[in-house]
């Protein structure tokens, strides 16, 4: 037996050494990428890249257009096998695979075939830029250094714990403490990073179908000094992009990232940055001091608000809007709070890490600096490390972090290393944008203009306008939208110098295949002359003819979920809601913001579907049903003209 095994092993060694590299020229990587893109171009009907570019332009021009805008839904935050941590967890989805998954194709995820219930309208892959070069070397047989012993070892590992051990030995151990992290020894140089970037871009180019499906070139800068999450997703408006993305290895703090983005603008790129997981930022996301510990300045606020137009409201690692501990008066604050995030990496729980606190705090900075550094609209994302795209239906959850949570057992008992308990994971949220067309420029511009909303999964639509002269109590949605654009501003907009009570008009429609709506609320936030934060929640319009009590509160809408079958009915709630709020308490001297929140009737949480399907008891530490929701971007009322933007 021993002899037999040795012979097999010998064969194995001979076979593998046959493909070891002969050329050590770094250009080999680039030649390979050219060959790949060359053959892909040939597969297109167009004769050349320029012909395809021309046809793309024509398709963009001819894409169906709606002057009153449509709601398009997409993903702006996820990882393919080009993210090292995702690969370690078992992700084998290429950027192209993921973009095809987004369009409804069935793919292998953790060994099981899986697909979306419905295709998306747009998507961006956002791989961690830190190690995409190493991943290129690991994944591409033609790459220089592909047969490095350490990488061979990585590819041969099939056990999650061995892969994690490998990751710790070769990557984490060279990246300890607060020092700038560095590349592991098997990194072969910038050429490999450029090659990986080209493969990511190539997928975005090939899957772009103007009018039907939009792809955006993007990556994630994954800075986390002292374990505080400062990650940003960088999204480009077109294919004018740098030769390689920047990472935490080259740029250690967010302010340097903005300076680099400004440099890219000079080179012709059009780009924005989306922060996420402020809930895990250890007070760094909305820090009154800059990276060097000095109070932020007007220049800081200008640079930040120029590039950071929206923030990711919620994702697999929790909802960042509010937390029930700090917002006891908000009856809907207890929603995917992901408490265990606070238990890892000494994060702790603090009100100042949450988005509602942050956007209102921005008004205080505006009072002091003349510019609001946190003028952020809201968008969604999942941060899936499985190559999934906005797979946000509670009944379609297969985990978010590869081998850490890919079985019902692990989702009930496991942990996402360094992040949270698996039971606390939400399924993530989805971005909605209001755009005239489904093209790169229109989708990107909507994000830049903050005409965006986030939902915790269902494809609800929400319209929100504000102005001093809007007609209260709208009854016709098209008239409301037309008037909103003519006489007011849409979500994400700013009204400057208003001196009378503003009227806010709001409308929402349920997901066509989802649950009914409970109510629409408007959240008002402002700061007084002393810089103190204030907020108020107003129930604007609701279902089932409920009456408000003296405090303005409504009775709960009810709950139709059968916990033994994980089914609900639409016997309660409304399919559409439309209404308005005129703020008679508005003080024209104080900077103020309003955002709308749509609440669905209760439906089963993913953990309830898991339990029912696998005949397991319901989990005690998480709710069995949730009220999904949508958040519109805020509308700002500013006493005087802001200095910029």
């Amino acid at each position: 037996m021993q002899t037999k095994l040795s012979i097999i092993a010998l064969t194995l060694t001979v076979a593998l050494s046959a493909c070891s590299e002969k050329a050590t020229d770094a250009q080999k990587d680039q030649a390979h990428v050219k060959a790949v893109s060359g053959s892909n171009t040939k597969k297109n009907k167009d004769e050349s890249i320029s012909a395809r570019a021309k046809s793309i332009k024509e398709q963009e021009d001819n894409a169906p257009s709606n002057p009153l805008k449509n709601a398009y839904f997409g993903e702006t935050h996820m990882h393919t096998k080009y993210s090292l941590d995702a690969y370690i967890g078992g992700n084998r989805m290429s950027p192209k695979d993921s973009l095809q998954f987004a369009q409804g194709q069935e793919k292998m995820i953790n060994g099981e075939l899986h697909k979306l219930h419905r295709p998306l309208d747009f998507a961006a892959t956002t791989d961690h830029s830190e190690y995409i070069g190493e991943m290129y070397t690991t994944l591409e047989m033609e790459a220089v250094g592909h047969n490095n012993e350490t990488l061979k070892e990585l590819r041969s590992l099939s056990e999650y714990k061995d892969q994690i051990a490998w990751f710790v030995k070769y990557v984490i151990s060279v990246n300890r403490g607060d020092a700038k992290p560095s590349h592991p020894p098997f990194y072969t140089g910038a050429e490999s990073t450029k090659s990986a970037w080209q493969i990511i871009l190539q997928a975005a180019k090939e899957e772009y179908k103007p009018g039907v499906f939009t792809t955006l070139a993007a990556f994630e800068w994954s800075g986390a000094p002292k374990g505080g999450n400062l990650h940003r997703n960088i999204l480009f408006r077109d294919m004018v992009v740098p030769a390689q993305p920047m990472s935490y290895l080259e740029i250690n703090r967010e302010d340097d990232l903005w300076l680099w983005l400004a440099e890219q603008e000079k080179q012709g790129s059009t780009v924005l940055a989306i922060p996420h997981n402020s809930n895990a930022s250890k007070l760094n996301m909305f820090n009154p001091n800059d990276a060097k510990g000095k109070p932020i300045t007007k220049e800081y606020a200008e640079l930040r608000s120029h590039f950071e137009r929206t923030i990711e409201m919620m994702q697999i690692k929790g909802n960042s809007e509010v937390h029930r501990n700090f917002w006891p008066a908000d009856e809907f604050a207890d929603f995917e709070n992901a408490d265990s995030v606070a238990d890892f990496s000494n994060r702790g729980l603090d009100k100042r890490n949450f988005v509602r606190w942050g956007v209102i705090e921005g008004l205080k900075h505006y009072q002091n600096l003349g510019v609001n550094p946190y003028k952020l609209g809201f968008n969604g994302g999942t941060d899936s490390h499985n190559g999934l795209m906005a797979d946000v239906a509670e009944d379609n959850y297969v985990g978010g972090h590869g081998a850490a949570d890919h079985t019902p057992e692990l989702r009930r008992t496991g942990q996402v290393p360094e992040w949270l308990d698996a039971i606390d994971e939400s399924i993530g949220s989805i971005t909605g944008v209001w755009a005239q067309k489904n093209t790169r420029s229109e989708i990107w511009d909507a994000m830049y203009n903050r005409e965006t909303f986030a939902t915790s999964g269902p494809r609800m639509q929400i319209r929100f306008f504000a102005g001093e002269h809007l007609t209260p109590q709208p009854s016709d949605i098209k008239a409301m939208v037309t008037e909103g654009y003519d006489k007011g501003v849409p979500m994400g907009g700013t009204v400057t110098g208003a001196d009378s009570a503003p009227t806010l008009t709001v409308w929402a429609a349920k997901d066509t295949v989802g649950a009914n709506l409970d109510r629409i609320q408007i959240i008002k936030g402002w700061v007084d002359q002393q810089g103190e934060q204030h907020e108020k929640i107003i129930n604007v319009v609701w279902s089932d003819n409920r009456a408000k009590d003296k405090k303005g509160n409504l009775a709960q809408v009810g709950n139709t979920v059968d916990l033994t079958t994980a089914k609900y009915t639409n016997e309660i709630g409304a399919t559409m809601l439309m209404g308005s709020f005129t703020d008679e308490e508005f003080n024209s001297e104080l900077p103020t913001l309003y955002y709308a929140r749509v609440i669905e009737i209760p439906t089963p949480r993913w953990s309830t579907y898991d339990a029912v399907r696998n005949n397991l008891p319901l989990l005690k530490d998480v709710p069995a049903t949730i009220q999904e929701r949508a958040w519109s971007s805020p509308i700002w009322f500013m006493p005087t003209q802001e200095k910029t933007h």
């Binding site: 194995l12 046959a18 793919k107 060994g111 075939l113 039907v212 990496s345 009854s475 949605i477």
Partner: protein, 277 residues
């Protein structure tokens, strides 16, 4: 050599050989000689996860405890195996089944089907590769929560419409008869996906089967019920392989995965004597 290296069978054999080889190594170390070892890398990992949760280095005692706990886990596992505790553990069995299936499925993912195989697959599943359908129609929306008897309202409205001259069938004339919604009265040449997106898939499925050029009652959408008149339906023809090659290939591969698993189980069922009592 290269094509040889791309042969899935070879990969499968090599993978199998590698697994057996490593298994033999591990076996030598642990079971045969009653030896349990801990590597330097494992100790680094233990230290690291401690540091990550506590934000400080473990003391010598703590590190010793970590190592001790790890070794306890290993010896307990080893003893448990010897005591036969693996047998009948549902979670472990399920996990092993997944691993075995993964090895079988992985051998399939490298297959490169030729055109004949793909054409055959396309012919066998024509409905999966029809071109998208396009519809032209007009519609009026009714919100069931706003009417005590929405069926009666639909019937009454339909009578009002048919009483009008066809030239008066316009958005301006007809929309006031219905309830307010963000959707349009008229849609021209819109795709199935478009209809499913704005009205829900139930409504889109109705259009696929709907009679042409007559007003139809009570067509359900995600928002309520509609009166619909379908005026045109195009598309839906079977497409050539060139147009859908990628998708056919993906589906073919998925099919092969299922087939190889089925075959694998067939072989296993033949290999083992299975008694159902």
């Amino acid at each position: 050599m290269k094509t040889f290296l791309k042969e899935p069978l070879l990969h499968f054999l090599l993978l199998g050989a590698a697994l057996f080889y490593f298994y033999a190594l591990v076996n030598d170390n642990q079971a045969n000689d009653n030896e349990i070892s801990i590597s330097a890398a494992k100790i680094v990992q233990l230290k690291y996860s401690f540091e990550k949760t506590r934000q400080r280095q473990p003391s010598e005692e703590e590190l010793a405890a970590l190592v001790n706990n790890y070794l306890k886990e290993q010896v307990a596992y080893q003893k448990g195996v010897e005591m036969g505790l693996l047998a009948g553990d549902g979670i472990i069995q399920k996990r092993i089944q997944q691993k075995v299936e993964f090895i079988v499925e992985d051998s399939v993912s490298r297959l490169e089907p030729d055109d004949a195989e793909l054409s055959g697959f396309l012919k066998a599943h024509p409905d999966d590769y029809r071109s998208e359908q396009f519809f032209s129609f007009v519609q009026l929306y009714f919100d069931p929560s706003k009417h005590r008897n929405v069926t009666a309202v639909l019937t009454k409205t339909l009578a009002q419409i048919t009483a009008l001259d066809e030239t008066e069938h316009t958005a301006v004339k007809l929309m006031p008869l219905s309830d307010n919604i963000f959707l349009d009265y008229q849609y021209t040449d819109v795709s199935y996906a478009f209809v499913a997106r704005y009205f829900g898939s139930k409504f889109a499925d109705s259009l696929v089967k709907l009679s042409m050029n007559t007003w139809q009652q009570k067509i359900q959408s995600g928002y309520g019920v509609h009166l619909v008149q379908l005026t045109q339906r195009t598309g839906g023809e079977i497409q050539s392989l060139d147009k859908v090659r990628e998708q056919v290939k993906q589906d073919w591969l998925n099919e092969q995965r299922k087939l190889s698993l089925a075959k694998f189980y067939q072989q296993l069922f033949a290999e083992y004597n299975i008694n159902v009592s």
